[in-house]
């Protein structure tokens, strides 16, 4: 597998503008001749589909939801970063770049991250023009708030529903192009395979979820914006339908998969309450702006939080990290919470929880101001737990939230399969080993509005992929494989439901490839997942048939892929013999319990190549060649 990142030459600050001056362009008359497939309609997918359509390309867009407006970007709460420096607190493109690369523990590409910071301001302009109702000051200007891992306020927000509002902006742009006839949109239509013909990505195989109809689609390029794989853990903050099937099928067709072990555990989620639990709910990181995290100082103290006097509370983040306090990055905050609970300070019925307390904020700002900032989040918390966070501190615990790993892409966002582009959370992207809060929305929209439309044009103009339709044998071949797999799943007729296997996979990954990982545990996990996979293919029961709406069949296909991906996550975690960001190998830590990187041996992206079901995948490395930033021990003290 050849990994050429195709990073342009020249100084960091000039790379993107020089690139834009140099790329090949497609003439307006020729754009009409190109068909582009976009899979997924979240921030990255909707924004790129709308932008390409506006440029004149013919776009086919697909999503599994009943409406493209429901893609999981909609759930993002806290905000979106940009280097506008409206609060005049010293922010700049350089600082946003530096904070992001440091937040990622120096495991991302400088050129990509700099470009991300550079286009961040255009995203805000674009969204405001679309009518995204960001929070404003009385003077009419846009308001900002702070987020983890930064000492400036650069986060734009729309109450606690920033993702929803940004997605509805992109959705509106997409709807406009659908009405104009430039986008053919296929909701309730799931991609089940990638078609590679003559060495290029040339189409996909889909299943219509309502009827079960299998179809093939050809195009000049395929763009995956299909999100992350956090649901491999079963319990995560992801929507129930989020899955890795599109990305995993692409991997099995030859696309390299980078850093699968880089998963983000978000520190502020509502703790789980029972075995029936189907998902975990995030409480936005923005709450850490005004909420103070604490546990009882005495182990096993089971008193009500109100009965524990100030002196017997341990505000451990403020104690351990005085500079950043409650606003340390997510990986640091999650590990600290785990340590407190492992040491016996945890609260709540399971002992797996810490307090997030707003009493001080309510006293300082008044209840009304707190309600204005976080009202909907408090309400969400109360609905789930039955407790009123205006009176009783919230109980929170870390949960799987985001995956930094994903399909490897070069500077053009193209994978190792020519013609296959990957955007948003689905690619391995710009976040290194840990993503900072409010950066996912930024990346999804950067990729979709401002990067892929240019890099795709450059590919099409340069490579001129020839016309090709679904009569090419590769389409019939991929379609046959999809149909066979569905037939196999329906034919097993074992005793256990799909969820039964998914829960067990999740438990293995959470225990052994979650917040803390050890070599030994990872080796065990690989064996256990292999065993579970075999069991799945013998014992799963998928009721119903291939035709008609069959949610169990949909889940079965996705879980079958998670059962393969889960093994790769553990393998990658095993081979990365260092700790960095969200990847914490317990064998590699500083005396104070912080992540201990091994820059000499691991300043690279690990890229996995599929070599067949009966062969182990090959691990390749893309060196990160950090030229501008000097990796340092990441300190938030």
């Amino acid at each position: 597998m050849k990994l050429d990142a195709k990073i342009p030459g020249g100084p960091l600050q000039q790379k993107w503008s020089d690139y834009l001056n140099d790329i090949k362009l497609v003439s307006p008359a020729n754009k009409r001749k190109f068909e582009i497939i976009v899979v997924g309609t979240g921030l990255a997918g909707a924004s790129v589909a709308a932008t390409l359509a506006e440029l004149g390309y013919r776009v086919l867009a697909f999503c599994y939801q009943d409406s493209s407006r429901r893609a999981h970007s909609i759930s993002a709460q806290g905000g979106i970063n940009a280097a506008k420096n409206y609060p005049n607190d010293g922010d700049s493109v350089w600082r946003l770049f530096y904070d992001t690369i440091k937040g990622g523990d120096f495991r991302s590409r400088e050129a990509n991250v700099y470009r991300l910071a550079e286009v961040s301001n255009s995203i805000i302009d674009q969204c405001v023009a679309q009518g995204v109702p960001f929070a404003r000051e009385y003077g009419g200007g846009l308001a900002n708030r702070s987020f983890g891992g930064a000492l400036v306020s650069r986060t734009f927000y729309a109450r606690g529903q920033t993702g929803q509002q940004l997605l509805l902006g992109a959705y509106a742009a997409l709807m406009r192009q659908v009405a104009a006839g430039q986008v053919e949109l296929h909701p309730r239509c799931e991609m089940l395979d990638l078609v590679v013909a003559d060495g290029r990505a040339r189409g996909i195989v889909t299943r219509r979820l309502e009827t079960g109809q299998i179809e093939t689609w050809s195009a000049h390029a395929v763009l995956l914006a299909s999100g992350g794989y956090g649901n491999a853990f079963y319990l995560s903050t992801n929507a129930k339908g989020c899955n890795a099937t599109a990305a995993w099928r692409a991997y099995k067709r030859g696309a390299g998969f980078a850093n699968p072990c880089f998963t983000q555990i978000h520190p502020t989620c509502i703790p789980r309450s029972g075995d029936y639990q189907s998902k975990l709910t995030l409480m936005s990181e923005s709450l850490r702006n005004d909420g103070r995290v604490w546990v009882p100082a005495r182990k096993g103290d089971r008193r009500d939080p109100g009965d524990i006097p100030e002196a017997e509370r341990d505000y451990y983040l403020e104690r351990m990290y005085p500079t950043f306090g409650n606003l340390v990055p997510r990986d640091v905050a999650s590990r600290a919470a785990k340590r407190m609970c492992d040491d016996g300070h945890g609260v709540g019925p399971s002992g797996q929880g810490v307090y997030l307390d707003f009493a001080a904020a309510i006293e300082r700002l008044g209840e009304q101001a707190v309600r204005e900032r976080y009202g909907n989040l408090f309400e969400m918390y109360e609905r789930i737990t039955g407790e009123d966070p205006y009176r009783v501190p919230m109980r929170i615990y870390p949960a799987v939230h985001y995956t930094m790993g994903g399909l490897w892409v070069d500077y053009n966002l193209m994978s190792t399969i020519p013609g296959l582009f990957v955007l948003g959370e689905a690619n391995f992207s710009d976040h290194g080993a840990n993503r900072l809060g409010a950066s996912a929305l930024m990346q999804g929209l950067a990729d979709g509005y401002f990067i892929a439309p240019f890099t795709l044009g450059h590919y099409l103009a340069g490579e001129k992929p020839p016309a090709l339709d679904t009569s090419h044998p590769a389409f019939a071949d991929a379609r046959r494989q999809v149909e066979e797999r569905i037939g196999r799943l329906l034919g097993i007729g074992g005793p256990h439901s799909v969820d039964h296997f998914h829960r067990r996979l999740g438990a293995i990954l959470w225990d052994k490839c979650g917040m803390g990982r050890r070599g030994e545990g990872l080796e065990q996990a690989i064996g256990e997942i292999r065993g579970l996979r075999e069991e799945f293919w013998k014992q799963v029961r998928v009721p119903g048939g291939a035709e008609g709406l069959n949610p169990e069949l949909e889940k079965a296909g996705r879980v079958a892929d998670f059962l393969e991906l889960g093994e790769l996550m553990c393998r990658d975690a095993l081979e990365r013999r260092e700790s960095c960001g969200g990847h914490f190998r317990e064998e590699y830590q500083t005396e104070e319990g912080e992540a201990l990187r091994d820059d000499a041996n691991f300043t690279h992206a690990a890229v996995w190549e599929y070599r067949g079901d009966d062969q182990e995948p090959a691990r390749h490395a893309e060196p990160l060649n950090l030229e501008v930033v000097k990796p340092s021990q990441r300190s938030y003290k």
Partner: protein, 258 residues
Amino acid sequence: MKLTLHIWRQRDRGDRGRFVTYRLDDVSPHMSFLEMLDVLNEQLVGRGEEPVAFDHDCREGICGACGVVINGLPHGGFPGTTTCQLHMRHFQDGDEITVEPWRSKAFPVIKDLVVDRSALDRIAQAGGFISVRTGSAPEANSVPGPKEAADLAMDAAECIGCGACVAACPNGAAMLFTAAKISHLGLLPQGQPERERRARNMVSAMQREGFGACTNYRECEAACPKRISINFIARMNRDFLKASLLHGRERGGKRQAR
């Protein structure tokens, strides 16, 4: 707790459909309503029966995918709550619960509790946007927006497109949904150039899709999980009326051929 569930089962669009009764033991009060259905489905799969199909995704009240009629009320009728956010602590041991899909002419049932809400997307396609080219936007702070208007726009923009307003309305109207989008964009300076055209086109699309008209029952407002106010319907009507009167006139006042 133990529950008796009467659930609407319908094989596909063509099937007539019927209620089927299920009994469920060991329901925890901490479960969400959808988790309760998950438990039922797991038992059905275990017995070799087809599970109950229902739409759901984020399970935190923001994607708008879920929504069933519970004991006659969309989302169960608890203020500001989607079906996925409804927890079983609101029910009693021994309760009988009737679960149905959204009932509306414009939302055909696809299977069991799943309906086709694509009509809402088509209303959005008719004008639920501001026409701005990617990359052509002015600097964000160059157009100041009064905070009050921005906040009110946000109140409207919170709509999740679940369709509960339609399911709740005796006329099957989608006025609250449409009004929320027209108001959100119409309240912002950026939305002014297309304001009238948008109102005209979206209202026409709503009528084309077979939704009914508003006769002020206010059921939509009560059912809306985002508590969107029917004041926005008044705002929409005003915009629509103005747009209709102005339609066919040039801004200068010259009559144009229709």
